[in-house]
C-alpha cells in the first residue's frame, strides 16, 4: 500500500489558502480560527448560564426581598444552568476550543485531518446553541426537568416546559452530538495519524493525551445520550412508552403504559459519568503541562500519568450507576458500582500526588496561569474527597439530593475544570493573540475566584448535612432546617455575586490586552512544547512555514542538569555526550 505519512510527503502539500475576510474568519477551515469560534460561543453561553445561577442565588439568598423569578422559572433556570455549564460550555470549550487549538500545534500538524468537517462541526454546534436559546421564546419556555431530564416527570404536564421545552432541549442535544462527533473524529484521527516526525505517542504532551482520551470517551458515551434522547422524543411526540409507566396524572389515567423510567437513568448515566471525565481529562492534561512549565520541572512520572489517564477513561464506563443508588436497584449492583467507583479513585489520586511531586522543589513561578493551576489542585482534591463519601452506598443515601451533592459536583466538575480553563486561557493567551495579558488584573481575578468559590461551595456541604434539599425554590419552614440556614444562604449569595463580578475583570482583561497588551514574544514562558516554537506568533495558516518541525525529545526537559538553558524545546536535537533522556532510556533497558 503506497501510503505515505504526512510528515514524509513532499512539503508542497498545500492547504487551500483563504483569501477573503469571510473565508478567513467566518467560514474558516483553519483549526485555530475554529477553536476561537468555539471558545467565544462557549464562553458566551457560559456567561448566560452564570447569569441564570445568579438569578437562582438571589432567590435562595433573599427569598423575601426579591420577586425576580417564579418557582417554575427556578426549575427552568436550574435545568438550563446545569445543562449549559456541563455540555455547551465545558465540553465545547475543552474539546472544541482547546482540542482544536492545541492538537495540531502540539502534534506538529498543519491542521486537522479533515478541515471542512471541522468547520461544519462548529456551525452545527452554534446551531445547537441557537436552538437551545430558542426555547426561551416558545410558549411554555425551556424545560424544567433538571439537567438529568428524568422521565416520567420530564414529559408529564406538571413540569414546566413539558410541552415544547423538552422537545427543543432534546433536539438541541442531538445536534450537539452530531457536532461533537464531526469534531471528535477529527481530533482522534489527527492525534493517531498526523503527528510530525519524531512525535511518538509517548512523547506527546499530556494536554494532548487528556484531550485525546476524553474525545474517545465522548465518541463512545454520547451515543447513549443520543439513544435516550431519541426514545424520549418518541415518547413525547408520538406516544410510545419506552420510559413511561402506567400512571395517574391528576387523577386521570395516562396514555402510557409498561415503560421503564430506570432504563432512561441507565442510558443517561452511561453517558453522564464518562461526561464528567470528558471534562476532567483535558483539564488533567492541560494542568500537568502548565504546572511543569511554570515550576521548571519535568512532570513527575510521565508514563504513569499517561496510563492513569487511560485507566480513568476505561474505568469511567463502569461506574455509572453510582448516580442511581436511590433509584431502586438490586443491592448487589450498588455493591459493584461502589467498588468500581472507589477503584477509580486510585489512578486519580496518583495524578494528584504526581502534580504535587512535580511542584516539590521546583522553581515555582507564581504567575497567573500557575496560580490557577495550583488552585485547581486544591479544589479538585477537595471535590474528589467528597466524592468518596458519595461513592459509598450507605453514606450516599442520606446525602443524595441534598446540597452536599451540589457542593461536591461544583467543586469537582464546576470549579476545578473552570480554574484549569482560566489557567489555560492565560497560559496560551500570548500565543493565541500575540499579546500579554495584564498580570495584576489576572491575579485579582484569581484570588477573587478561588476564595469566592470556596465561600460558595464549602458552606453547601454543611447545608447538605443538615438535609437541605437541592433544586428547591425556597425552603419554607421545616423542623430540620434551622433559621440560621437562611443567613448562610444569604452569605453564599453574596459570595456568588462577588465571583460573578470578578469574571468581569477577566473579560475586561482579555479584551483590553488584545489591543493594549504588551507584544508577546513567541515563547514567553520558555516552554518546550511545539506550539511555542512556531515561526510566527500567532501562528499563521499552516502553522509551520515551509517545514514541519522535527521532534527529538519528550515535552518536559526543564532544568536538565548540565544544560545551558533551563529548558530544551522538543525540537532540540539530542547532542552527543548529553545526558540521555528519560524516554530514550525507557526504550533501552
Amino acid at each position: 500500500m503506497a501510503y505515505a505519512a504526512i510528515a514524509d510527503r513532499d512539503q508542497e502539500h498545500h492547504l487551500h489558502d483563504p483569501q477573503t475576510f469571510i473565508t478567513k474568519y467566518i467560514w474558516s477551515q483553519d483549526h485555530k480560527v475554529i477553536a476561537i469560534q468555539y471558545a467565544m460561543t462557549a464562553i458566551a453561553v457560559g456567561l448566560f448560564a452564570m447569569g441564570l445561577s445568579i438569578m437562582m442565588r438571589l432567590q435562595l439568598g433573599f427569598p423575601d426581598s426579591f420577586s425576580l423569578i417564579s418557582p417554575e422559572e427556578y426549575y427552568q433556570y436550574v435545568t438550563l444552568h446545569g445543562m449549559i455549564m456541563v455540555i455547551y460550555l465545558l465540553t465545547a470549550l475543552f474539546l472544541g476550543g482547546f482540542g482544536n487549538y492545541l492538537i495540531p500545534l502540539m502534534c506538529g500538524a498543519r491542521d486537522m485531518v479533515f478541515p471542512y468537517m471541522n468547520m461544519l462541526s462548529y456551525w452545527v454546534y452554534l446551531l445547537s446553541v441557537l436552538v437551545l436559546m430558542a426555547s426561551f421564546f416558545i410558549p411554555d419556555g425551556p424545560t424544567g426537568a433538571g439537567w438529568t431530564l428524568y422521565p416520567p416527570q420530564a414529559i408529564t404536564s406538571g413540569t414546566p416546559g413539558s410541552g415544547g421545552g423538552i422537545v427543543v432541549m432534546l433536539v438541541s442535544l442531538a445536534l450537539f452530538i452530531v457536532a461533537f462527533t464531526m469534531g471528535g473524529l477529527n481530533y482522534v484521527t489527527t492525534v493517531l495519524q498526523a503527528r510530525t516526525r519524531g512525535m511518538t505517542l509517548m512523547r506527546m504532551p499530556l494536554s494532548v493525551w487528556g484531550i485525546f482520551v476524553a474525545t474517545i470517551l465522548g465518541l463512545l458515551a454520547f451515543p447513549a445520550l443520543l439513544v435516550a434522547a431519541v426514545m424520549m422524543l418518541l415518547d413525547r411526540l408520538i406516544g410510545t412508552s419506552f420510559f413511561m409507566p402506567e400512571m395517574l396524572l391528576m387523577g386521570v389515567q395516562s396514555e402510557h403504559a409498561g415503560g421503564s423510567p430506570i432504563l432512561f437513568q441507565h442510558l443517561f448515566w452511561f453517558f453522564g459519568h464518562p461526561e464528567v471525565y470528558i471534562v476532567a481529562l483535558p483539564a488533567f492534561g492541560m494542568v500537568s503541562d502548565i504546572l511543569a512549565t511554570h515550576a521548571r520541572r519535568n512532570i513527575f512520572g510521565y508514563r504513569m500519568m499517561v496510563w492513569a489517564i487511560i485507566a480513568i477513561g476505561a474505568l469511567s464506563f463502569v461506574v455509572w450507576a453510582h448516580h442511581m443508588y436511590v433509584s431502586g436497584m438490586n443491592p448487589y449492583f450498588g455493591f459493584f458500582f461502589a467498588t468500581t467507583t472507589l477503584i477509580i479513585a486510585v489512578p486519580t489520586a496518583l495524578k494528584v500526588y504526581n502534580w504535587v511531586l512535580t511542584l516539590w522543589r521546583g522553581d515555582l513561578h507564581l504567575n497567573v496561569p500557575m496560580l490557577f493551576a495550583i488552585g485547581f489542585i486544591f479544589t479538585f482534591t477537595h471535590g474528589g474527597l467528597t466524592g468518596l463519601f458519595l461513592g459509598n452506598v450507605t453514606v450516599d443515601l442520606p446525602l443524595s439530593d441534598t446540597y452536599f451533592v451540589v457542593g461536591h459536583f461544583h467543586m469537582v466538575m464546576g470549579v476545578s475544570p473552570v480554574l484549569v480553563l482560566f489557567a489555560a486561557i492565560y497560559h496560551w493567551y500570548p500565543k493565541i493573540t500575540g499579546r500579554m495579558f495584564n498580570d495584576t488584573l489576572g491575579k485579582l481575578h484569581f484570588w477573587l475566584t478561588l476564595l469566592g468559590t470556596y465561600s460558595i461551595y464549602l458552606p453547601m456541604h454543611y447545608l447538605g448535612f443538615l438535609g437541605v434539599p437541592r433544586r428547591y425554590y425556597a425552603n419554607g419552614v421545616t423542623d430540620f432546617i434551622p433559621e440560621s440556614v437562611q443567613t448562610m444562604n444569604a452569605g453564599i449569595t453574596i459570595a456568588a455575586l462577588v465571583v460573578a463580578a470578578s469574571q468581569m475583570i477577566f473579560l475586561f482583561n482579555m479584551v483590553w490586552s488584545l489591543f493594549k497588551g504588551e507584544k508577546a514574544s513567541s515563547n514567553p514562558w520558555n516552554a518546550t512544547t511545539l506550539e511555542w516554537q512556531t515561526p510566527e506568533t500567532p501562528p499563521a495558516h499552516g502553522n509551520w512555514g515551509d517545514k514541519l518541525p522535527e521532534v527529538h525529545r519528550w515535552a518536559y526537559d526543564y532544568s536538565v542538569p548540565g544544560e545551558e538553558h533551563d529548558f530544551l524545546p522538543q525540537t532540540e536535537p539530542v547532542h552527543t555526550g548529553a545526558i540521555v533522556h528519560r524516554d530514550l532510556e525507557d526504550f533501552k533497558e
Binding site: 484521527t189 516526525r197 463512545l220 396514555e255 415503560g259
Partner: protein, 227 residues
C-alpha cells in the same frame, strides 16, 4: 516505507515492548489513510449507538408485563394459505449478505484499477440495498395496515413491540438508505475517473461502512426475529 531513524526503536525491539513502541511510533499509529482510520472510529461510535438501542430493547422487553408477540407468527407470510415463518426476513437477510459480497468484489476491482467494473459492482450493491429498503417498506406497510401495529399500541401484546420494532429497524433502514446514496455517489465519481490519481481507497472505506451496516443487521435479526 516511512520508518526512519527517529521512529524510536520501531521494529528493532523484540516482544511485547516492540509491539508497543511500534504502535506508538511517530507520525501515524496505523498505516492506513486518514479517511479509513476515521471511518473505523466512526463505526466504533456507531456500534455504541446500536448497542444502546438493542440493550434498551432487551430491557424494555424484559420489564414489560404484557406478553411479547411471537415473532415467528408476526413475521410470517402466507403463500397459498400456508404461513411460512420469517420468510420475508430470510430473503431480506440474504439480499443484504449478497450485497456485502458484491461490495467486496468492488473493492478488489478498485485496487486493480478497473474503473468500470468497480463502479458497476458498487451500483449493484446499491441496488441490492435499495431492494432491502423496499422490502422493509413492504414489511412496515403490512404490519401497519394489515395487523394494526402502531408505535404506541399493538393488538398482539406489548405496545413496546411496535415501538422498538419501528425505531430500531427504522434506524437501521436509515443507515442502509444513507449507504445507498453514499455508494451511488462514490460509484459515479469512480466512473468519472476522480480517483485515478488519488487511488481507490475510498471504495474500501465505503465498503467498511456497508459491511458494518450488514453486520448490524445480523444482530438485529438475531435479537429481534429469532428471540
Amino acid at each position: 516505507m516511512a520508518h526512519d531513524a527517529t521512529a524510536l526503536g520501531a521494529g528493532l525491539t523484540p516482544g511485547l515492548r516492540g509491539i508497543g513502541s511500534d504502535w506508538a511510533g511517530d507520525k501515524q499509529t496505523f498505516h492506513v489513510p486518514w479517511g479509513k482510520a476515521m471511518m473505523w472510529i466512526f463505526l466504533l461510535s456507531d456500534t455504541f449507538i446500536f448497542t444502546c438501542f438493542l440493550t434498551g430493547y432487551m430491557h424494555v422487553r424484559a420489564s414489560t408485563r404484557i406478553p411479547w408477540p411471537n415473532p415467528s407468527e408476526v413475521f410470517a407470510l402466507s403463500f397459498g394459505g400456508e404461513p411460512i415463518p420469517l420468510i420475508l426476513i430470510a430473503i431480506m437477510t440474504f439480499i443484504l449478505i449478497t450485497s456485502s459480497g458484491t461490495m467486496a468484489m468492488a473493492v478488489n476491482m478498485g485496487y486493480r484499477g478497473h474503473r468500470a467494473k468497480t463502479a458497476s459492482l458498487m451500483l449493484m450493491t446499491a441496488a441490492l440495498g435499495a431492494m432491502f429498503v423496499g422490502m422493509q417498506a413492504f414489511e412496515w406497510t403490512k404490519l401497519i395496515i394489515d395487523e394494526g401495529v402502531r408505535p404506541w399500541s399493538n393488538p398482539m401484546g406489548a405496545p413496546q413491540f411496535g415501538a422498538v420494532f419501528f425505531m430500531i429497524t427504522g434506524f437501521h433502514g436509515l443507515h442502509v438508505s444513507i449507504g445507498v446514496i453514499y455508494l451511488t455517489t462514490v460509484a459515479m465519481k469512480v466512473l468519472r475517473g476522480d480517483y485515478k490519481k488519488r487511488g481507490y481507497e475510498i471504495v474500501e472505506i465505503t465498503g467498511l461502512y456497508w459491511h458494518f451496516v450488514d453486520l448490524v443487521w445480523v444482530f438485529i435479526f438475531a435479537f429481534f426475529y429469532l428471540w
